[in-house]
Structures are given as C-alpha cells and as structure tokens.
Symmetry: C2
Subunit: 491 residues, 2 copies
C-alpha cells in the first residue's frame, strides 16, 4: 500500500478518518471545527452539486443568495426555532480591529461594537422569510421556489470531518405557497428527489420517513427525511425536507390575498442536504483498500496506467492510449492517463484504489502485441484482459454495471440489517450485537423515545412512509402502538 | 413602461439603483451593507461562474474550500496585509447565546467568549498559506493551482448594490510555484483570462495594466488589473491578479526543497473577480429602458410573446411556438414562451426590455397567415418581420451579432473617452468636463498620486501593459516621466 489505512475491523472510526485524510478529501484546519475541503474531495462535492442543481431546476426551482449574517433578534421570533438554533452559534459583535497600543499585532476596537449582534447563519429561514414579506402580496406572487447554495455555521463541540463540522457547505431550499396542500406536496416532492439522488448517484439505498417530535426540525410542523445505513451498522440522516406550516409566515408577518381577496398567512417548506453526504458516500461503500466511488460521482472514472521499461515502450503504450482516450471522452467518460515517471505502476495502482477510481486500465508491451488491455474494477477488485478494439463501449457498460453493483451491495447490506424486535430485551440485544435498523413498536410519546435514547443511545430514525399499519405494544412502555418505527444508533 | 426608472441623464446613480431593483437583480437586506441577490440576478452570476470556472479548469486549476474564519493573529503575520485588510472586518468574539434572564429573547453568553477572536475572511491568503505549509515539501508538490468560490466580508461604510457591499461573492485563486518566473507567468495568464472573459462574455472592453503602489493589493509585489469604463465616464476595476512574491511564504514559513535539494520559500499569486462584475455589466451597456444583456450571459436569450384576442387565436400561435422552441433549444438557445394571461403584450414588451432579454419574438394571427414573426432586438430597439421558416438559424446569427454589437459599441465609447492631457489645467478641465480615462505623465511617486487624488478624486487606474515608452513631464509636479499612465475617477 502507498499509504497505510486502519482496517474497518480494527477501528471503523479511525478507518474513516484515515480515508478522508489519505484519499485527499479533507483535513482539519487551523480553526477549531472547520475543515479544508481538498481538491479531490471538492471535485466529488461539485459533482453532487451539479446533479442536485439540475434536479432542482428541472422541478422548477431557481437559485438566489441571502446574507451570511442574521440579526440576533430575528431568532427570537419563532419560539421553537430559537431553542433549536440560536444557542450554539458564531456571534459577530464588532466590526473593526485596531493596532494594539502595546505594539503587538491587532486587537478588537471596543468603539466598533455593533448595536445588535449578528449571528452567522446556522440556517436561513428567518432572514429569508423576513425578505419574503416584501415579495409576497397576492396569490399571483406564489409559489416562490428558491434554493440557495451556501456555507452555514453551527458551533459543534465534537466535530468530525464532513459528518459534523462547525462550518459546512449545503443547499437550503425555501419555498412559499398559497395552500397547505401545495406546501405538503412540495415537501414530499423534495424528499423523493433526495431519495432518487441518493440511490441513483450516491448508490446509497435510503428509507423515506417522518421524524418523531424529538428529532423534528426546530420550527417545522413535520420533518421528512431519508436515512441511510453505514457499514458499521449506524444510521446516517442524508437529507431532510420540512413542512413548516405557517410558522415562519406568522413569525415574520408574511400574508397574501387569496383568490377571494382574503388575507392569509403563507405556507412554507425548507429542505437541505450538506457536505455531510460526503461522509455518507465514504462510509457506505469503501473498503480496507480505500474509497469505492460510484461512477456517477467519481471525478476520475477511468485511469490508464502504462507499464513500460524504457522510453520506446512508453511511447508505444502512449500511442494506444491516445486512441482510447478520445473514444472514452466522446462517451462522456472522464479519464486520466498517468504517465508520471516518478512513480512505479504498483504505487499508482494502490493510489487509485485508495482514491476509489472505478476502472483502471493497465497496458504494457505484451498487451500491445496481443491488442489487449487489463481492465480492473474497483468495486470487486477483479481484473480481466480484454481487446483494445471496442474497449470504449465495454467500459461504458462496465461503469453502469459498477454503479448498479455498488447500489445492489449496499441495498443487500441494508436489508439484512433491518430487524424486528418485539421485546425490550430483544431490542437491547439486537442493538448491541447486530446494530443496524430495528423495527419496533413505540407508544408515540417523546418521553419514551427520550428514555430509550438515554438507556441505549438509539433514536427513532424515522416512521417509514411505506410502513403498514400494525397493532402492537410499545417495546419500552407496553402501551398500544399503531405501527412499527425504525430505531438505530445514528451519526 | 411597466416600472418607472430614472433616466441616465437625470441621475445616473439613481438610474443604476432603479435598474438593479426593478429588473430584479438584487436588493438591500435587513443587514446593513449586505444584499439579497434575487433569482434573475443570481442566474446571470451563475452564467458568469460557469464560464469562468470552465476557463480556470481549462488552464489547469482545481477548486477547493477553505474556512470562513481566520484567527486574528494570522493577519499580523504579513505587515502590509494587516494594514490593508484587518481593520474594517466582521469579528466573531463569542460562540453561544442564552436566554435573556429578563425573559426578552436571547443575549450573548459572556461565558462563551473565544480565546482568540475569529475574523470573517476578507480574502483568504493567510488561512490558505497557513494550510499550504503542510502541503508543500518538495518541488514535486508544486505548482498548486487552486481556486475557491466563496463569500467574503469587508465592513464597508458606504455600500452600493453589487459595487460595494459588506458581504460579496467571488472567486479567489491562490497558486504556489517553485520559481518567480512561473508565478509571474501565472499572474499574467490570469489577467489575460479575465480580459478575455470581460470582452467575449460581458462585452466590456478592458485595459490591462499594472497598479501603482498606492492601489496595489496589500501584501502584493505587483498587482495586475483590468479596467473598464462605465457610461458616466467613471472607471471600474473588473478584476485583479497579484504577484505576491515570497511574502506569504515567508509570513507562514512555507518552504520547499528545489531540484538541487536546497530549501527555498515558495512563490505565490492570488487573483479574483466578484459580484462587482454584475454592477459593471449593468452600467456598461444598459439604457433608459432597462438592462441590455449580452446574449452570452443572458439567462433568457429569446422571449416569445403571443398576440391574441381569444383562446382559439392563442392556440394557433402556441402551435407555431411549439415548433420554434425545440429548434431554438437544439441550437443551445435559452427561450421563454410567455403566454401568461394576466398581462397584456405591451406590459410584457416593456418588462422584457427592462430585463434586457436580447431578442423578442412576437406572433399574432396576421403573422400566422403570412408565416412570419416579428423579431425585435434589445440592443438597437429595432424590429423586423421575418419568415418563421428558418427562424432558428436567423436567431442564432442574430444573437452572435448582438453580442458583437454590444462589445463594438462599448469599445467605441471607451476609445472616444481616452484623452491625453499634457498640463495640469488641461487635466482638471478634461476630468470635469469629459470624465473618462486621461492619459498623462506622472512622476512615479505615491505622494504625487495622493495629491492628485486629493484635489480631483482621480486615481491612477493602471499603467497600461501595452503603453509605449514616451519621455515627458509629470502633469502635477513637472518632474520627468518615462511613460503615460491612465487616470480616472473610479467606482
């Protein structure tokens, strides 16, 4: 191996951090809790952004940009929201530095104190609904379907690259509607869009559901989510879509005259996914050799490594590569030819395995004689020797096959790791010995959920949208329950 | 007119603000100095971003992301930099709010004071070079060619939408090189790239030059810039590319071992353009009817407005539109069909003029009989009636023609407004009566430049790269000068 990484079996958590660091995805910065997203990691994020942005636009959304700062008083307007978001946040109190009178660098200028402190946005409902007030008068101004790509800050005490950082990148959609039905429809449309993205692009099967009250977004009437399962049996929330009712319209006094000319409060949704998805992508598919990237999000889909002893051999291999590369590019496949002379082929093989490049082609003098190329796939680590003739078509199919296989494998793993528990003992044993999702009856109260969390660290990940009604008794309290919900220990 | 806008002749500055507001580009937010970029304005910015990003990648650059926060002490490391940037900035001093003991909302928790204050980045040289220290050991790690798309904050006292705002969006490139020559080459490569973008996409002719010491970036050895001229005769800096020498490498202790194994400090460049370009775009081309957008950056390139009296007529017009639209789209032309029944055609005509849509097609029953369509171009406000047959090809050529015409017109205006002054009286008269660029001799001292600025508000916009050497006497001091420089009053 080019770079040592801890194995999953040894220490899953360290394996994750090793991968993120050594595959050049991200690293910790000099600012506590904030990360540097390195070029290779950022290239994956750009692919995610491009695809999501396309899907948002295809469903009628447009992008805009709202301020980074939110006046402190805005948070107090929505009672639940302030409890959830205004506490652990970055507060701007001054707007100037001055030279230290003692001659040691710069100090905050006490005379440049803001009248009202500004909060770095942890989420933008407040500033956006304050703006919407001026944009909405009539039902003709609705719906507003806006998305924003932005950075946000939440002052997390325990951070982990991508999964939980003080600053992170995300998109936040904020829509305004004339009716409750339309807003609920939008909320559902987006959670379905997120699920499609997770499954078709990230290769991660997700369960769509509704959050319990304890896990609901602060200020929402209902939070929909998609939940994925990582290889260590922990769940990871991959995206949320909130039906906000009229809460923010009431807090910011946003009203419209309906078709009958009567004033009503506007209905709202908000929804987002973040760079946290990078963490999910790493943890869902990768192995002890490194990243396994789904071809649909891989910055480099195919790498070609020449095997040669001298300049003459390299030239001959390069001549064949020069034929293959344009054929692959014509099919929209991103390809890198690595003829760097400073590294040996073995080092390169390990490096591109670490980086999760889906397909590796290796070509040496013997291949040239036979008109063949060695094709290695990252997901199965299998190799075969194939004719150069027609290789572009073969690789296009192979990439589709890898994409599908990654999803199939993750789905099989996820399905094996949803287990029913019907008693409290069974629940605790499953959780300790197997992990994964546990489908169990719950009495519907926040108190029970809180006690289960306290005793086991497991939370209700969601009430699945497709769950069948089933009469039962709460595993914890023994009270009646109308359907099973999914518990798990979560990131 | 659908919405009244001030004319340029009446009040240029108000005309600009009217356009930005009424064409739905941006508006002031509840946070002093921060703007909301509205969907139509953001769509133009997205087109700028996409094109620039493509050009950066074609020249070997990759994107990454660095933290929003910079520890205060980082600024003190580079002496010139701290003077230029660390003064008017947003300072984060606390990381928590708590419920007001008096029960009135939330207050800053005095116990959550940061040990070291964090500055919201006004530019990222310091945090990036602090990071590069760990990325660079050998000449093999160079060059690093990284760009970042980000928001930055500079606490401006007098703000104006897009032109000067406390928070703005930009890209900042930060490259690291093994030699001075390579870094200078990069600096020039980028200023040429910016000039190409300004001219071919924004339709704005720019003068490439070097900044005088007074106008140089704080921390740079040399600042290259592109300067455009607005219709009121004021100059606007459209982009800068800085050769930073080894200043930041020395400040952050970034060294590499060269091919001979000797340790050296790394050479640096940084370069950026921002949402300020939106202001330039508006001011360079628009007229008293509204925006005039170059087709290469117009979110909607063609709008089709049906003219009809009843549903039957509308259906017939729509049937023809349904033929034209896919033909236009197949040529990569973005088109909007506006059959909104709430607005009259006249209102729509004025609205799309205001929004700067380059081409408007209008079709009514009489056109259907004759197989024609009325084609109006925004730049010249001329109309002609043309056959529907083959209209897609005609429009494709027309869009190219409009793009070229906008650039030609702006170039003619700019060229007419570069004037030579050989005496101080002449200089002052030209500045007051004509504005524009004044080409004049200068003795090369910061003191003279400062005095000229004090007396006339004019600054040296640049020392043009293509200027011919010419012996002369400084218009202000009478001291010898080796070449003319360009003065102007600037935004």
């Amino acid at each position: 191996m080019a770079k040592e990484i801890t194995t999953r079996g040894d220490n899953y958590s360290q394996w994750y951090l090793d991968l993120v660091n050594k595959a050049d995805l991200a690293e910790n910065s000099a600012v506590r809790g904030c990360m540097v997203i390195k070029p290779y990691g950022y290239a994956i994020w750009e692919k995610m952004q491009a695809q999501l942005d396309k899907m948002f636009k295809e469903t009628g959304h447009v992008n805009a940009y709202f301020p980074l700062f939110i006046p402190k008083s805005f948070f107090s307007r929505e009672a639940a929201h302030v409890e959830g978001f205004a506490k652990e946040c970055a507060v701007v109190t001054h707007y100037r530095l001055k030279n230290d009178p003692d001659g040691k660098g710069v100090v905050v200028d006490p005379e440049a104190k803001l009248e009202e402190e500004l909060i770095i946005r942890p989420t933008s409902e407040t500033i956006i609904w304050n703006t919407y007030r001026n944009w909405i008068q009539s039902h003709r101004d609705l719906p507003i379907l806006i998305n924003q790509w932005a950075n946000v800050v939440r002052w997390e005490m325990r951070t982990r690259l991508f999964l939980r950082t003080a600053e992170f990148l995300w998109q936040e959609g904020h829509t305004a509607h004339a009716t409750r039905e339309e807003a609920v429809e939008e909320t559902l449309k987006i959670i379905n869009l997120y699920a499609d993205f997770a499954e078709k692009f990230m290769g991660i099967p997700v369960i769509k559901g509704i959050k319990s009250e304890n896990e609901r977004f602060a200020g929402a009437v209902e939070t929909y989510c998609i939940e994925g399962l990582m290889q260590d049996g922990k769940a990871l929330q991959c995206g949320t879509s909130h039906f906000l009712g009229q809460n923010f319209a009431k807090a910011f006094d946003v009203m419209f005259s309906n078709r009958e000319g009567v004033l009503e409060h506007v209905w709202a949704t908000s929804w987002g996914v973040s760079t946290r998805l990078m963490g999910a992508l790493v943890m869902a598919h990768s192995d002890d050799n490194g990243l396994v990237l789904p071809p649909n999000l891989a910055p480099i889909q195919v790498v070609i490594v020449p095997i040669y002893k001298n300049k003459e051999e390299l030239d001959r291999v390069s001549a064949v590569a020069d034929q293959i590369i344009p054929q692959l590019k014509a099919r929209g496949i991103s390809v890198k030819y690595d003829d760097n002379d400073n590294k040996k082929p073995g080092w390169k093989f390990a490096e591109y395995e670490l980086k999760g490049v889906p397909v590796r082609l290796a070509m040496g003098p013997r291949d040239l004689e036979k008109g063949t190329v060695e094709v290695a796939r990252r997901d199965t680590l299998t190799k075969e020797v194939l004719p150069v003739e027609g290789i572009d078509e073969v690789i296009e199919k192979l990439l589709a096959d890898i994409q599908e296989n990654i999803f199939r494998k993750a789905t099989a793993f996820r399905d094996e790791n949803i287990r029913k528990a019907d008693t409290w003992e069974e629940f605790k044993t499953l959780l300790t010995e197997k992990g994964g999702f546990i489908s169990a009856h719950w009495d519907g109260t926040p108190e029970t959920e809180a006690r289960i969390k306290e005793e086991t660290k497991a939370t209700i990940r969601c009430i699945p949208l497709d769950a069948e009604p089933e009469e039962g008794l709460c595993i914890y309290s023994g009270q009646p329950s109308a359907q099973r919900v999914l518990f798990a220990i979560a990131y």
